[in-house]
Amino acid sequence: MTGFFLRRLASVFPVMLVTAFLSFAAFHFIGDPLQNMLGQEASAQDRARLAAELGFDRPFYIQFLKFVGFALQGDFGISTRVGRPVLDLILERLPATLELALLSFFFAMSAGIALGVMTALRPSSALSRVSMTGSLIAVSLPNFLIGIGLIYVFSIKLGWLPSFGRGDTVKIGWWTTGLLTKSGWKAILLPAISLAAYQLTLILRLVRAEMLEVMHSDYIRFARARGLPKRLIYFSYALKNTMVPVVTVAGLQLGSIIAFAVVTETVFQWPGVGLLFINSIRYSDVPIMATYLLIVSFIFVAINMVVDCIYYLLDPRLRAVGGIK
């Protein structure tokens, strides 16, 4: 176990190094960082002086090492749009994105598993048909259209739920949460649902496929033959066995949810890192783009690693072989 874990951990480093390098390259070669700091009317001497101060005249690899060093200390430079440290900006908005992502992940998982089981067990029931058709539509509908539709119906036509923002938030240390106020819950509902839609259909289809397969397996047939209660068979034997692939896919989908949050946050003007990122693209704010890339890929890599480890623990066959390829 330790060996596997260490090997897995070691494989993270090259990945992070590559993304760090990409961020560094973006920061240095796209947009002129010196120009950004100096303003437009600086003289050539000012420029040379600042370049020397910041070590821009040093060899490339030394600059890169310095960048990594600063990044490890949490120093990602100053946003060229807002003029504040990038890390502060991202940390300020991270809670909003994480709350949204986790809640929609929870929606997607619970509804996806429930509907998946149902469509597998009662494929001909009306609800199953509706959810299968619905799932096909949900895969074909871009996330932002779902969001616009939800706003149109629930905010404009019915006036039940807010169309933007986070509602009232409560500060707990550096974390701000919207989950402790009524307006916060009202505000998160629509974005979380629209973000969950796509993942929900994926989980639904996966659970359904796995369930169908398991139901045809020998041990379920035996269990049936022995006359065990249906509920016990379905939920204790069958569902349990579908969980390994579901957990894996679900874990990976969490990363995807964070990425798609960019879109949802734009539609609902949700004040998270995704909206910050979109704005930084619009304003060519390279330090934020680079840092966002770095932090988000770190999150993805971390999730991947955790998923691998869970997988390793859940599936004894892997342990025999000695790890995933």
Binding site: I137, L141, A259, V262
Partner: protein, 308 residues
């Protein structure tokens, strides 16, 4: 239609042909898809207005509701017009054309990158394989939409404003194309590794067939089924990704609108009661993606019952 089916069947085995003719969903979505493709290809002929030429725009005919005549100019518009006097029907036709074009080329791009790397990786194995798969891992750990956004965003920063709009379409194709190769590569690699062990490959190697011939003539044909399935599904995904990029303002510009760009500008008028500017492009986008997905689902069931 029948000839086409037969050809299709000849290419992928007659069982498919049978299944196809017996699947109403697949048949229907093919029809829908063909109509949309025809409409997209024929946009310059079918569209009442050439929306790519700003000279044809007349501000006076702006904001006409669908299926009515403009109060000032008297022109009749079946889908209405937007705030610039652009005929929504024409815009939707041209938008479909751009969306389909971008998605198709992007899929071809990621397919060629993916298949090539997959073949190389699977056939040569060893370090080459390890390196390619490592890159694939990195890329797979970052969702495609995110990579596409990043490429698109960085290119906006890099390109001079004068050429930004003209090059936007290539940038979007590149962004979507690059972000989607991994699935192909992994599938092809797996298939190649299996095929490599077969007798015919061993025999061909023995008689000294060049590697390239080997890969292209003998191994590639055996992986075309899974490739087709992936390509179909990723076509729908590419259409959606492009629409998303354009919606976020990181895709195609208003002067060369795709369906996503049209939805983006239509959104501003939705609450003002001018729903048609958003509705027609959005409905077309949904129909397009849905038809392809139904087809993809069917293909997957027929070609690869164990799922991908």
């Amino acid at each position: 239609m029948k000839r086409l089916t037969r050809k299709f069947a000849a290419l992928f085995g007659s069982d498919i042909g049978h299944s196809y003719l017996r699947s109403p969903g697949a048949l229907f979505s093919t029809m829908v898809l063909l109509i949309l493709i025809a409409a997209a290809l024929g946009a310059p002929l079918l569209a009442p207005q050439n929306i790519l030429d700003p000279r044809t725009l007349d501000l006076l005919s702006a904001n006409t509701p669908p299926w009515s005549a403009n109060a000032l100019t008297g022109h009749f518009y079946s889908f209405g017009t937007d705030d610039q006097g652009r005929d929504v029907l024409s815009a939707t036709l041209y938008g479909t054309r751009v969306s389909l074009l971008v998605a198709l080329v992007a899929v071809l791009l990621s397919m060629s990158i993916g298949v090539t790397l997959g073949l190389i990786s699977g056939y040569f194995g060893g370090r080459t394989d390890a390196a390619i798969m490592r890159i694939a891992d990195v890329q797979l750990s970052i969702p495609a939409i995110f990579i596409a956004l990043l490429i698109s965003g960085l290119s906006r920063t890099l390109l001079a404003p004068g050429v930004r709009d003209t090059l936007a379409i290539y940038m979007v194709i590149l962004a979507i194309g690059i972000s989607g190769w991994v699935t192909y590569a992994r599938t092809v690699r797996g298939a190649v590794m299996v095929e490599k062990q077969r007798e015919y490959v061993q025999a061909a190697l023995m008689i000294g067939l060049p590697t390239r011939t080997m890969l292209l003539r003998h191994i590639l044909p055996n992986v075309r089924r899974p490739i087709l399935v992936i390509a179909t599904i990723s076509l729908a995904l590419s259409i959606i990704t492009e629409a998303t990029l354009s919606y976020l303002g990181a895709g195609l510009p208003p002067t060369q609108p795709s369906l996503g760009t049209l939805i983006r500008s239509g959104q501003d008028f939705l609450f003002a009661g001018e729903w048609w500017i958003l509705f027609f492009p959005a409905a077309t986008l949904l129909t397009l993606a849905l038809a392809i997905n139904v087809l993809g689902d069917w293909l997957r069931d027929v070609l690869n019952p164990r799922g991908l």
